[in-house]
């Protein structure tokens, strides 16, 4: 175990290294590329025995990762924004084939207009794809979630996205503790499954007629539901082994007697902790709910966490056009039937700053807003 300064990209790369990935496939995109470059450097320096497939596009990156996974290797890729959209077809396909590929996503705004700055709209666009999605609040969690991602993926046979925001996390140095390799090997043994195997030939993705298709989809969704439990047990096993508990689906902070809850995911969380502490000192009964697992959506856990509050303020760094912030919409859906005020805000799109100051202002605004007249209010225009 050693502590060092790492960017989010490097933390993801160290995660891939500790997981002893066998195949890496990627196509460079900003701001995800430093993670890929770091893994390549591990390979070039002889620190990692991984086959690197230098594909010609993001679509082929996930295709190659998928092929490697089907042939039984632990595989990893990295992308964001346009790259993620370009590979979308393969994103859905990989989940349908139940392959445990892990992908780091350095969340970035989507074109148009062109932007290379952070927001979570790229990951949100894949919300129906069948991938498990974890959001990280800091670089330590990026590394830890990478390792948990492989464990979760290989247990429920579904692919996992590890999300961290471009620049805010991907390019920012933080202290990160790197776990011991031997302990990781024990935590994450490779359970090799060869779907494409000359010694056990089978047809993969044969045409499924209406008598079959729906049943495959039922099983796929069942695996997603199973993941709700597995994500929690993996988080708690990891905490026992490595001393860091990121909780499973959601984490509650200062929620015991809270009347007002702030709900968000990603980099906003670490700032929100500071805000909550400050407001608590002033006597406000405020708490924080961090959504760590976005897919499968932790509706039950959120209902439990928010059952005693009077006001819920949800912040989204994304917009689903004509609907509102994605998390806000789903929190409302999860709390259907409970008598609680829910205010939803869209903010921070395309890299617009969200600091502790903005979070304080949103919370204040929300307390003054008796009833929102729109699905989500835009903050910081």
């Amino acid at each position: 175990m050693s502590t060092t300064l790492l960017t989010g990209s490097e933390a993801a790369a160290y995660g891939a290294k500790l997981a002893r990935i066998e195949v890496l496939a990627y196509y460079p995109i900003t701001p995800a590329f430093p993670a890929m470059e770091r893994v390549s450097k591990f390979i070039d320096d002889g620190d990692l025995k991984t086959r690197f497939v230098r594909v010609e596009s993001d679509h082929s990156a996930l295709a190659a990762a998928l092929g490697a996974s089907l042939a039984g290797s632990r595989t990893f890729t990295v992308t964001n924004s346009q790259g993620l959209l370009y590979m979308t077809e393969v994103v859905y396909h990989t989940a349908g084939l139940r392959q445990p590929v892990v992908m780091a996503v350095a969340n970035r705004a989507l074109s148009a207009p062109h932007s290379r700055f952070p927001e979570q709209g790229d990951a949100i666009s894949q919300g129906a794809s069948g991938w498990i999605q974890l959001f990280c609040e800091n670089n330590q969690e990026v590394l830890d979630n990478m390792l948990q991602a492989f464990k979760i993926a290989e247990t429920v046979r579904l692919p996992v996205m590890v999300n961290y925001e471009g620049y805010i996390q991907s390019h920012t140095l933080e202290e990160v503790e790197i776990p011991n390799q031997e302990k990781i090997d024990q935590f994450l043994p490779l359970n090799r499954v060869r779907t494409l195997d000359v010694d056990n030939p089978q047809g993969v993705n044969t045409v499924a007629s209406p008598e079959f298709y729906m049943d495959y989809k039922f099983r796929q969704n069942e695996a997603m539901e199973q993941a709700l439990t597995v994500i929690c047990s993996v988080a708690s096993d990891y905490a026992k082994e490595f001393g860091r508990d990121w909780s499973g689906l959601i984490e509650t902070y200062q929620m015991e007697d809270a009347e007002h809850a702030f709900v968000a995911m990603g980099s906003m969380i670490s700032d929100a902790r500071i805000v909550v502490d400050e407001l608590r000192e002033k006597g406000q009964k405020i708490g924080l709910v961090k959504v760590r697992t976005w897919r499968p959506f932790p509706a039950e856990a959120l209902r439990e966490a928010l059952k005693n509050v009077q006001l819920v303020t949800v912040c989204d760094k994304n917009i689903v056009y004509g609907l509102g912030g994605a998390l806000g919409t789903e929190v409302k859906s999860a709390l259907y039937g409970q008598t609680v005020r829910i205010n939803s805000y869209v903010l921070g799109l395309g890299g617009r700053d969200v600091t502790t100051e903005e979070i304080k202002q949103v919370l204040e605004l929300s307390e003054k807003t008796e009833k929102q007249t729109t699905a989500s209010e835009w903050f910081g225009l």
């Binding site: 086959r51 295709a63 044969t206």
Partner: protein, 286 residues
């Protein structure tokens, strides 16, 4: 020594019970190629007739692993499979991506050129029936000039893209054309490709009688006429050396073209133009 039928395995790894039309050229190509490739082969097939006629639901005719991929990604998937096999120290498995003309030359071209440029240890096969037959027969880049298709009912007005020349330009280990009417030549080429450490490209002319509007029992005959007329040359390129594998008798091109329903609008002037072109350009990939 030349290959003979007696040298071929009796076992069929692809064929019996397939769901293709009677007289399907693609299925014949698959059966012939698997004689050379053998059971220690992983085949990836993007969207195409070939991806569906080998199996559906819980049944398959493939006796070796096959994977029906998305349309534009078979060479990329195969690259990943090869990487995984190498990572696991498995060296005795052939990796093949097997696409139609669309999955090779059009929608699939990006991943193909990528895998070829990397000189991946794999074989890409284009089974070329010169139109998009799995969607009912539309025009693509491999459709020859003048051919009538379901979306160009007056015939295509531009030439077929020369995929063999394009793949040769990648400087890969092996490039070959093949025809289902010359099975021993086709099988010998697959045997050669297996031995290469890098990328091989094999382009097979595999007529589709529905698209070409010929009788189903004449699939092989038209595949042969294409070669005999000089419109489809059998050759291979190894280490930059080009070898012609068959000297055609140069029967008149109209003997090949006119009986096909898809060329029913051909004028005498057009036929003359094609004949002149064959006489002038044969063997130069033009």
């Amino acid at each position: 020594m030349a290959l003979s039928i007696a040298d071929l395995p009796k076992e069929d790894l692809f064929g019996p019970g397939h769901a293709g039309c009677g007289g399907c050229g693609a299925a014949v190509a698959g059966r012939q190629a698997m004689k050379a490739l053998g059971s220690r082969t992983i085949v990836t097939i993007p969207a195409s007739c070939m991806a569906t006629l080998g199996g559906s639901n819980l049944k398959t005719t493939w006796q070796s692993p096959f994977y029906h991929t998305l349309f534009e990604m078979a060479p990329a998937v195969s690259s990943g499979i090869r990487a995984a096999l190498e990572a696991q120290g498995i060296e005795d498995v052939n990796v093949v991506s097997w696409a139609g003309d669309a999955g090779t030359a059009d929608i699939g071209f990006q991943s193909l050129t990528g895998a070829a440029e990397r000189n991946e240890h794999m074989i890409h096969v284009c089974y070329d029936n010169e139109m998009y037959m799995n969607t009912g027969g539309q025009t693509g880049s491999q459709t020859p000039m003048y051919a009538i298709t379901s979306n160009m009912t007056k015939g295509k007005t531009i030439k077929k893209k020369n995929m063999l020349a394009i793949m040769e330009a990648h400087g890969i280990d092996y490039v070959a054309s093949a025809s289902i009417a010359y099975p021993l030549d086709l099988i010998a080429k697959f045997k050669k490709a297996i031995e290469k450490p890098g990328f091989s490209y094999i382009h097979i002319l595999a007529p589709c009688h529905r698209g070409w509007q010929i009788p189903p029992e004449k699939t092989i005959e038209f595949a042969r006429l294409a070669v005999e007329s000089g419109l489809f040359e059998l050759y291979e390129v190894e280490d930059g050396n080009r070898t012609r594998n068959y000297e055609p008798p140069f029967i008149p091109v109209e003997n090949y073209l006119l009986p096909q329903g898809r060329f029913k609008n051909l004028t005498q002037e057009a036929i003359q133009g094609i004949q002149t072109s064959v006489n002038k350009h044969y063997g130069r990939g033009e």
